[in-house]
């Protein structure tokens, strides 16, 4: 077994490019996706000619009291062009006491922006209207601010178990999702080694030697497992120490989940190798099936976005779904190993089935 493992390692040292590429893709992909979630949506605003600069500035300040949007004054024509040409979903036309939404399409963004702008305008109009009856407008505004800081009623929210509600970290989800997704390719292309050796005749040569078949499979599969596992650990360490992601608190459990996932994915790759006859067919099938997993598993969207029962049912077949459930549970919701026992058990179950069927298919084809 060690000799087979050694040969794979020597090959890796000669051309480590695939490993480096998928490692880099995990890092770059996560960083890019995190950047998109941290960015505010930029919205162009232009005023009617009668609106003074001071009035425009005042509205912009009010509108920008949002974590999701950034409003910016711009000339009317380029703002309209951007909407017309599809470069922006929406623009705002300001007048002294009113606004207009400029949009060319129906989209959720338009609705959300409209809600925000309406809320800002309604609140400001209410304050203005009320302040005209108070006699001292500035004093009235100061009183409103003061009272808002000490409201008569406060609302407290708690999780179902009495703990404070955890803020869902979508960036951590992206990190887990992309890393687990891209490592499938690394593992897949390593497991192809078995098919490659069968095609070139090296496999038959080893069969004729005293090395047992179990040792041959183990040499390949343990190597594929370790390469994928190391890739995941490297990515997680880079994000912990380089980008400030908090992973060390539960790192031991994260490693256990990732190791289980690696076993399942190696087994899954073995199943594909059992179904296909040549490395080329294997690569085609891998490229065709793997991209579906994160999409159906909801890796790129916040939890709860996918509600279709059929899609949720299919995603149950994918190891990625269960590994994500376990990892986010542990890393974000402080769940224990017992809490995530079910997804881990599902991973192991899928792994055992895939490995059994895969090796069986591969051996049966030979006779």
């Amino acid at each position: 077994m060690f000799t087979v493992f050694w040969a794979q390692w020597r090959k890796e040292r000669r051309s480590p490019f695939m490993l480096i590429i998928f490692l880099s893709l995990s890092i770059v992909g996560t960083v890019l996706m995190s950047m998109t979630t941290n960015n505010k949506m930029l919205i162009d605003v232009f005023g009617v000619p009668e609106l003074t600069t001071a009035e425009e500035t005042a509205w912009i300040q009010l509108l920008n009291q949002s974590e999701a949007y950034q409003f910016k004054m711009r000339a009317e024509q380029p703002s309209r062009d951007a909407v017309r040409e599809g470069r922006a979903d929406v623009a705002i036309k300001l007048s002294e006491n009113n606004y207009k939404i400029i949009s060319a399409i129906e989209s959720p963004n338009v609705v959300l922006v409209e809600q925000h702008v309406f809320h800002v305008f309604a609140k400001e109009m209410q304050i203005r209207e009320a302040s005209t009856h108070s006699g001292d407008e500035n004093q009235f505004r100061a009183d409103v601010e003061h009272n808002l800081q000490r409201p008569a009623l406060t609302l407290q929210t708690q999780a179902w178990d009495g703990n404070p509600i955890v803020k869902y970290d979508i960036n951590l989800q992206f990190l887990f999702g992309l890393t687990l997704f891209l490592v499938i390719y690394t593992i897949g292309f390593k497991v192809t080694g078995v098919l490659m050796e069968k095609t070139t005749g090296v496999w038959n040569r080893v069969i004729l030697s005293p090395v047992r078949k179990t040792e041959m499979y183990l040499g390949h599969l343990i190597y594929s497992f370790l390469i994928g596992f190391i890739q995941i650990i490297i990515v997680f360490l880079i994000f912990h120490y380089g980008f400030g992601y908090q992973l060390m608190e539960h790192f031991d459990m994260i490693l256990v989940i990732c190791a289980t996932y690696m076993f399942t994915m190696v087994a899954f790759a073995m199943l594909l190798a059992g179904v296909m006859r040549t490395p080329e067919q294997f690569s085609s099938l891998l490229s065709a099936t793997v991209p579906i997993m994160p999409m159906l598993g909801g890796i790129y969207v916040p939890p709860g976005t996918i509600t279709n029962k059929f899609i949720l049912g299919i995603s149950e077949l994918f190891p990625l779904t269960h590994a994500m459930k376990a990892l986010t549970g542990v890393a974000m919701f402080n769940e224990s190993l017992t809490d995530v026992a079910m997804p881990i058990a599902k991973l192991l179950f899928i792994g055992v089935i895939c490995m059994g069927v895969g090796i069986n298919l591969m051996e049966r084809r030979k006779a």
Partner: protein, 310 residues
């Protein structure tokens, strides 16, 4: 030492090998000849225990290999038709890998690697990657990898396909060395008649999955001992002449060659005169006629009705 008894292999209803019985004595060099698709590689796979026969048996020193494959694997070195090497590794690393799987270690492994590299003439280039080697050099390392554990029997499946003359000579020399100086039993398959003629004491001729003839070179030549081969050079091709010659009684076979015709004819006087007469009648000019004793290639043609490399 090694024998096959009525070996048969059927793939999805199609018979690839039919009732193949052959034997190899210790220290013998035996050729297995046949065109592509004759069933040579399937036979070899069954002999080397890589493929289970549908029926029949392979016996090593009287013991069934089908039941106990480990017995033959210990004493066997197989040189596959394909280049069964790691392209990404050097020649040395490949040999180290194949030595290790046979449990060779340390200085013994090192000396064996150097010995087989010397044998195939690539000692100076052992550090180079296989993917940088020419086809012929790859084939030489392919052979070296099968010799590391000093096998008693070496099976070579068309080891000279598609290579340069220099590598081919090297390979033939290696086989000779193995058989004559080291006493290794060799089963050599090829569709190059001249290689088998040079290397093998005995040979089996296979076609369509069956052994159609076997024996020493002389024994096989005797199949056509009552015949001569005429090589006729013509000024231009003549299909009419072919038709006319086929009608003649002594003419057993007519084959069109690049420069004229090749005839296998029954030994008898007057055949040359007949041929010349027919040619004159059809106004075909004969430039040259050679008469010689049939070669093994002619024997094969006679037995199968086709050339070895068809």
């Amino acid at each position: 030492m090694l024998e096959t008894i009525e070996l048969r292999k059927v793939f999805k209803g199609k018979t690839a090998v039919e009732e193949v019985s052959l034997y190899l004595e210790k220290g013998e060099s035996v050729g297995l000849l046949g065109p592509n698709g004759a069933g040579k590689s399937t036979t070899i796979s069954m002999i080397s225990s890589l493929l289970l026969p549908t029926s029949g048996d392979v016996r090593l020193n009287g013991k069934s290999v089908v039941k106990n494959p480990q017995d033959i694997r210990k004493v066997l070195g197989v040189v596959p038709q394909e280049i069964a090497l790691y392209n990404e590794l050097s020649a040395y690393e490949n040999l180290k890998f194949f030595g290790r799987i046979y449990k060779l270690k340390g200085n013994h492994l090192e000396s064996k690697i150097q010995e087989v590299l010397e044998m195939v003439g690539l000692r100076e280039r052992q550090k180079e990657l296989i993917k940088a080697f020419s086809g012929g050099m790859k084939r030489r390392i392919n052979i070296a990898a099968a010799l590391l554990h000093d096998p008693q029997i070496v099976i070579m499946d068309e080891p000279t396909v598609g290579i340069d003359p220099q590598s081919r000579n090297h390979i033939l020399e290696t086989v000779r060395l193995l058989n004559r100086e080291k006493g290794t039993t060799v089963l050599y398959t090829s569709h190059y008649m001249e290689e088998v003629e040079q290397l093998c004491n005995r040979m089996y001729i296979m076609d369509h999955g069956q052994i159609i003839a076997s024996g020493t070179q002389d024994e096989l030549r005797r199949i056509l001992s009552g015949e001569d081969t005429l090589l006729i050079q013509l000024n231009e091709p003549s299909p009419e002449l072919v038709q006319e010659l086929l009608v003649l009684d002594p003419v057993r076979q007519v084959e069109e060659t690049e420069s004229g015709l090749k005839l296998i004819v029954t030994k008898q006087s007057g055949i040359l005169a007949h041929v010349v007469q027919v040619a004159e009648r059809l106004s075909v000019q004969i430039v040259n006629i050679n008469v010689y004793t049939p070669s093994l290639e002619d024997v094969f043609l006679q037995l199968t009705g086709r050339k070895l490399r068809d």
